[in-house]
């Protein structure tokens, strides 16, 4: 039994969740607190990954970070290795897959904070940075934590986009979701059963945690 796909999936999901948290909370904060040109566009783009077919998403990513794109070349120039068809590409695909969830929940969380609390903090001389860390984030922590849990589950399950830009290289980029497909295709029933069971168990646990977080928030 090869456990590599499972570990890779967990690692990729963890990385994607961390990046989504940082980026997602920042984007949500911008959408709630700042007015800037292109805000509507950012809002729409942030939702797109939820609506687009994963393969379409993967294709865009291929265009964006492939070996012929300027990002791909810059990366290759800096590190000497291509970005696509590595575990890093899988993290990027999973991040894109998961981040809309985080942005939406973090935004909803930040929007329900009592404005007066933030105003009070401002009138007490706190900087925006301090207000974010000491007031806004703690007050929105539950919906954000719940969203992070779901984002973890979602990034673990990405198939289409990951396949497009990270490929299916056993022992290098083959995540659990892809390994299940391969196992079924090649008639390796036992492998498929185990992976499906483990993934299901982890996901059920995560959804349970996320629901509890959401409920206590309400």
């Amino acid at each position: 039994m090869d456990w590599f796909p499972l570990w890779l999936s967990l690692e990729v999901a963890l990385g994607a969740t961390l990046i989504s948290l940082l980026l997602g909370i920042w984007i949500a904060w911008l959408l709630v607190n700042r007015n800037f040109p292109g805000k509507d566009i950012l809002d729409a783009v942030a939702t797109l990954p939820l609506a687009l077919p994963p393969t379409v998403l993967g294709y865009y990513l291929l265009v964006l970070i492939g070996r012929n794109s300027w990002i791909g070349r810059a990366w290759e120039g800096l590190t000497g290795t291509p970005l696509v068809f590595t575990w890093r590409a899988a993290v990027i695909a999973s991040t894109l897959h998961a981040i809309p969830l985080l942005i939406k929940s973090a935004r909803a969380g930040l929007e329900t904070i009592d404005r007066a609390c933030e105003r009070a903090a401002r009138s007490l001389g706190a900087s925006e940075w301090r207000i974010f860390w000491r007031v806004s984030l703690p007050l929105a922590r539950r919906p954000i934590a719940a969203a992070a849990a779901l984002a973890f589950a979602r990034s673990m399950g990405d198939f289409g986009a990951t396949l497009m830009i990270a490929g299916d290289i056993p022992g290098r980029t083959q995540t659990a979701a892809i390994a299940i497909f391969d196992a079924v295709e090649s008639g390796n029933q036992k492998m498929a059963d185990i992976l499906v069971l483990v993934i299901s168990a982890i996901t059920v646990l995560i959804v349970f945690i996320a629901n509890r977080l959401e409920r206590r928030h309400a």
Partner: protein, 354 residues
């Protein structure tokens, strides 16, 4: 010392009419009460001083520091304004204990100094025992004291209070008044307090600014305003006045009197400077300045039984309809079926500008 001269316009929205704030005043230490109906621009003024709302034009100066200047495009962010703000709902940080709430406000002080100040402040506002509790675990009055303590610990140059008595029962309102008076006595921090509660206004104010529809219609010491409201709008806002439409029938400047027609009766009126015979004027008289009597006589109006009465601790307020309200001392009140007259002493009638 604060100087404010600001204007802000709001275009009509789907659910709101157009509104324009245009006020100008300066205020010194002591309690300055902004009094007026809801939606007259009181809280908007506080928000402009604190920097939460930018006026369209004008200037705000606090202790010779420019907080806002429309022409010079100065608009300091709220955190640089040194304005303490006590919010209507207190706005305590729900995830911090009372002590942490205060410490948050004192963050600019060095650690030891901060600890000492927080402890002192908790003691002073009677919160020492509750310092480790969260806002949801304390009463409304305690939340309110904590919110005032938090605003003061940042050492503001002015303290802004937005309807702090709102939603508290009368004993808590009383303790709020004590707290505000105490601050006024012990510190030179000027206070601006928004309220639409007349009693709160009169008992706390050193100076009252009366708001009506985005403007300050009158300003003065509370007693002066009650004695002489000046305009019919002010009299109505202060409440507790009978405002009569009167017709000037005759003037007798020599004896400082006049004759006026009020509610269809000819009465002796006060000296009415700058009025002519035939003018229609507004005269105001307080309910406690009138009397109920059982015989006709000079300056007495025949009335029917009161439409309704309100029991008060020392008196009974009788409303005879048609804008005629009289306060009768309890011992003078007899619930009679006899004929009643209301006496309006000439000196109780004040001339109001329209």
């Amino acid at each position: 010392m604060i100087r404010v001269a600001i204007a802000k316009r709001f275009a009509p929205g789907p659910e709101s009419a157009a509104f324009e704030l245009d006020v100008s005043f300066d205020a010194n230490s002591g309690v300055n009460v902004l009094y007026g109906a809801s939606g007259s621009g009181k809280t908007l003024t506080l928000d402009a001083i604190a920097g939460f709302v930018a006026p369209d034009s004008g200037r705000i100066l606090l202790d010779e520091r420019i907080l806002f200047d429309g022409e010079a495009r100065v608009n300091l962010p709220p955190r640089d304004r040194s304005c303490g703000y006590v919010f209507q709902n207190y706005a305590l940080f729900p995830h911090m204990t009372l002590r942490q709430n205060l410490a948050f406000a004192a963050h600019r002080l060095p650690r030891l100094e901060r600890r000492r100040r927080v402890a002192e402040s908790l003691e002073r506002f009677g919160l020492a025992e509750l310092a480790g509790r969260y806002p949801r675990e304390v009463s409304g009055g305690q939340k309110q004291r904590c919110s005032i303590a938090r605003a003061l610990i940042a050492q503001p140059r002015i303290l802004l209070l937005d309807e702090p008595g709102q939603g508290l029962d009368s004993s808590l309102r009383e303790s709020l008044r004590d707290a505000v008076r105490d601050i006024a006595r012990s510190s030179k921090t000027p206070m601006m307090l928004v309220t639409h509660d007349l009693e709160e206004c009169l008992s706390l104010a050193d100076s009252v600014l009366i708001y009506d529809n985005g403007r300050i219609v009158r300003r003065g010491a509370p007693l002066d305003l009650v004695r002489n409201p000046g305009t019919a709008a002010t009299a109505r806002l202060l409440g507790g006045f009978n405002v009569f439409d009167a017709e000037v029938l005759a003037l007798d400047p020599g004896r400082h009197t006049s004759r006026v027609r009020i509610l269809g009766h000819e009465l002796v009126g006060p000296h009415l400077p700058a009025c002519f015979k035939g003018d229609r004027v507004a005269l105001a008289s307080r309910p406690e300045e009138m009397r109920i009597v059982a015989q006709p006589g000079e300056n007495r109006l025949r009335v029917n039984a009161p439409v309704f009465t309100v029991e008060r601790p020392q008196s009974i307020r009788a409303d005879f309809g048609g804008n005629l309200v009289v306060d009768v001392p309890r011992d003078a009140w007899r619930d009679r079926n006899e004929e009643l007259w209301v006496e309006i002493p000439p000196e109780s009638l004040r001339l109001l500008a329209r």
